[in-house]
Amino acid sequence: MYASHRRALLVLVVLGAVVLAVVVSRGSGPQTAAASSHAEAPLISEDPRADNTDLYAFVSPDRPDTVTIVANYIPLEAPASGPNFPAFDDSVRYELNVDNNGDGEDDLSYEFRFKTVTRNPDTFLYNTGPIDSLTDPDWNRVQTYSVTLVDGKKKGKGKAKVLGENLPTPPDNIGPRSTPNYPALASAAVSSIGDGIKVFAGQRDDPFYVDLGSIFDLAGLRPFNPFHAIPLPAEAGRDAVARFNTHTIAIQVPISQLVKIPNTTIGIYASASRQKETVLRKDGTKDGNGPWVQVSRLGEPLINEAVIPLGTKDLWNRVDPEDDAQFTSYYTDPEVSRLENLLYGGVLAPIATTGRSDLVAILLTGVPGLNYTGPTKSDLLRLNTAIAPSASPSRLGVLDGDFAGFPNGRRLSDDIIDIELRAFAQGYGPVLAGALGLPNLSPNNLLGDGVDANDVPLLSTFPYVGTPHQGYQVP
């Protein structure tokens, strides 16, 4: 090889080495941005205190002439939340709505408005000493509420009747020093407001139970781990919502006040509304707060989470159940069923992902012979008040032949995750297959997340939802 060539090659090698060295040491770090400036208003999409997490409705087991409706708000409420102790939002209107003639419109609405008072304006502490009673002056940030019954709101008649005012809420369950003997405090906050109506609003244990950790790991179900598209060893399910609290609004109303003879089935949904404020105030009033806009609602469980796509959630939250026909395609062609096919295709019998009129029935109109309210498609929890409470409830509700359970209303102990997983997978179980001819694919009818009960026991009397976790015990 010629000398000049050799030299060139040598330089090339050196060059290459230099470049190599540089490339190896160079990273590709991202640019740092300027620190945030003050003017940016938050763009949070969430609104926890107006966020409906669960709705339950059942004939009260200890008072079977009444119906209990339980609506929970504030998701994943951590017990140790001081100093910002969770409470209801004074500027939100919370509503429990009942449709008793099957047209999807509100016939009765129980509206809850809250008011927080700071007893000692010089301190912002929640409490300045142990709270021994609801009137204890050591309790500094006290929230009370009013209940108003609005009759036939949608029809524009809207007669309103205040059922109770300045009703007490219990404090949050902070710890043995601040809230000793918490159950007594809580039961003192159960109010009877006449006409046989009982009402409660305050912190409770979150009765929902679900293995969120596994489900959001690409729809994993721990007992079914080996059969997933990405297999793992089977495990027992873990309740991701254990050790969390919630804020509950519960009302117990005599059935006679709710139903419209001869219908025994009522449709229920919970909602939360905020007032609209636009830039220009047309009426020119000083403290004019605008009309109420519904910002969240809940009828059947998991619809917002598993059926309605992300880009439609804000719209869905704003719409009233009577207009739910526009969402029918999400029920007839359900995404959840598609996922079940995709991720468990190896072991599940193939699931129909179109034409799912069964889901429309269960979730939008009611099941004929069980809790059917009519052809109007609306997302309501449908409770047939003529069916007596079961002496030994089954967590699988109607799928197990327990007709007092979900989807006939929803009890606190019903395992709606397992029930809905099986329903979406067309594994309705022998009872419904026999009674209504619904498909009972196997082993689809065995699906479940492996979590079958809540971590905290329920109470035997109203409001039934268990004592909240104490902040001191659950850091």
């Binding site: 090659l9 090698v13 941005a33 938050p42 949070i44 959840v336």
Partner: protein, 438 residues
């Protein structure tokens, strides 16, 4: 022969090394052939901003993504959570993380709504308003009924000086889903058009909806306090700032605001301590500038110069980080006579990039300080075209009128600015006072 071989081998090795580094056959990021969309997130997990738990949410999502790295929805939520962390800590590296994670989500799912609108709000935080508008519009086309998109769009439009369109977007947001986010924006819009009472009532609603959440409570209280401050209501303003600090100890914007209250009350040393604390935590140009001004008022020239020098350092770093001219740093240069002609070109650039009334006002001020008062007046008129009642903008106008020789007009504007807030500026309130009496 051997030499040729070795040379040839060396060249071959070199080529091979370069190719290996290049790695034409290196696989792409995701192992799965098609990204499996995660099932829709439960509302509960999607919110997760329960009191003080952004860090918890971040940790949960990070753990989730380590086992399932291509979960677009988790990436979206993490990206938004990172932005919230940036708000809470002021640390800009969270923005870079948010950017990386959201872009990855977008690569996996190009029509992802949350990733698009998340990148939009990120662009806003980085003052890239045109990009934010594009992203916001894109998100809107993906889902015209999602309220968040209109927040992004409206913010961008307002910063780009398109106020009517911006307000329309805010109204749409308020109609779709009233919330803290919409109330705060409506309050800001009302303040811009001079509806102070309306701004306060909307911001109070925002503060009410923020109760229980640390950073949103602190933010809304500070904004409410600033509304009071802008009308010279010191006691009411201070109360809100103290509330903010109770909810969020060490919140820099509250510290800075309290410092100004203390200065207004003549308590310079406590003011300096508070402003020092704010600036040490996050050295924003406006904090550092205020600290310098406070030192000057106290008579500590050395201390003042030290802080002013730091602004120059911050400017260099901003440029090195690819951030274009900052409105605040341009304003500083103009206020403190730092290379005035250069400051004017900075102000022009800042106004061009941010043609809002603030940009207009800074440019007007820069022109005035450079002696071009006729031109300045036109820009000042633009800055006040919405009917905003802003003491500093009034003061700038007064100065311009004085420069143009109209003493009575100058006095009028000075009086108006002092009537709004007698302590509107450490540097300039004394000048306004002198201007009124002269």
């Amino acid at each position: 022969m051997k030499r040729r071989l070795t040379v040839g081998a060396a060249a071959a090795v070199l080529a091979a090394a370069a190719l290996l580094l290049g790695g034409a056959f290196r696989g792409g990021s995701s192992a799965a052939s098609a990204p499996v969309a995660a099932p829709a997130t439960a509302e509960s997990l999607q919110t997760g901003f329960s009191p003080g738990s952004t860090e918890g949410l971040v940790a949960r999502l990070q753990a989730q993504l380590r086992t399932a790295p291509d979960d677009a929805r988790a990436l979206d939520l993490l990206g938004l959570a990172y932005q919230q962390r940036a708000r809470e800590t002021g640390d800009p590296t969270w923005y870079a993380k948010s950017d990386g994670v959201l872009r990855k989500a977008l690569r996996l799912a190009p029509d992802d709504l949350l990733a698009t609108s998340g990148l939009g709000s990120l662009a806003l935080s980085r003052h890239r308003f045109a990009a934010a508008l594009t992203l916001g519009e894109r998100a809107r086309r993906l889902s015209p009924t999602t309220a968040r998109n209109y927040g992004v769009i409206g913010d961008a439009l307002v910063e780009l000086g398109r106020y009517r369109d911006g307000f329309r977007a805010f109204d749409r947001m308020a109609t779709l889903k009233p919330s803290l986010s919409s109330y705060a924006r409506v309050a800001h819009a009302r303040e811009l058009i001079g509806d102070w009472d309306g701004a306060v009532s909307a911001m109070k609603l925002a503060a009410d909806s923020a109760i229980g959440e640390q950073e949103p409570t602190a933010w809304t209280r500070v904004q409410l306090g600033k509304l009071y401050w802008n009308r010279g209501r010191l006691a009411q303003a201070d109360r809100e700032f103290r509330d903010a600090l109770t909810a969020f100890p060490g919140y820099v914007y509250a510290l800075d605001a309290r410092a100004q209250v203390e200065a207004a009350r003549g308590r310079i040393r406590p003011a300096i301590a508070l402003e020092r604390q704010a600036s040490d935590t996050i050295p924003l140009p406006q904090f550092v500038a205020t600290l310098g001004d406070l030192y000057r008022v106290e008579g500590d020239e050395r201390g003042a110069r030290r802080e002013y020098a730091l602004i120059g350092v911050i400017e260099r770093l901003l440029r090195a980080n690819g951030v274009k001219t900052d409105l605040e740093t341009a304003l500083f240069d103009v206020d403190h006579r730092v290379r005035l002609p250069h400051a004017l070109s900075l102000a022009r650039l800042a106004q061009a990039e941010r043609p809002s009334i603030d940009g207009d006002d800074v440019l007007a001020w820069a022109l005035a300080r450079n002696g071009r008062c006729a031109e300045a007046r036109a820009w000042s008129e633009r800055a006040l075209r919405l009917g905003t009642r802003d003491a500093l903008k009034f003061f700038h106008r007064g100065w311009i009128e004085a420069c143009l020789g109209d003493r009575s007009a100058a006095r009028l504007w000075y009086r108006r600015s002092l009537a709004l807030n007698p302590h509107f500026s450490i540097l300039w309130a004394p000048v306004a006072r002198k201007g009124v009496s002269s």
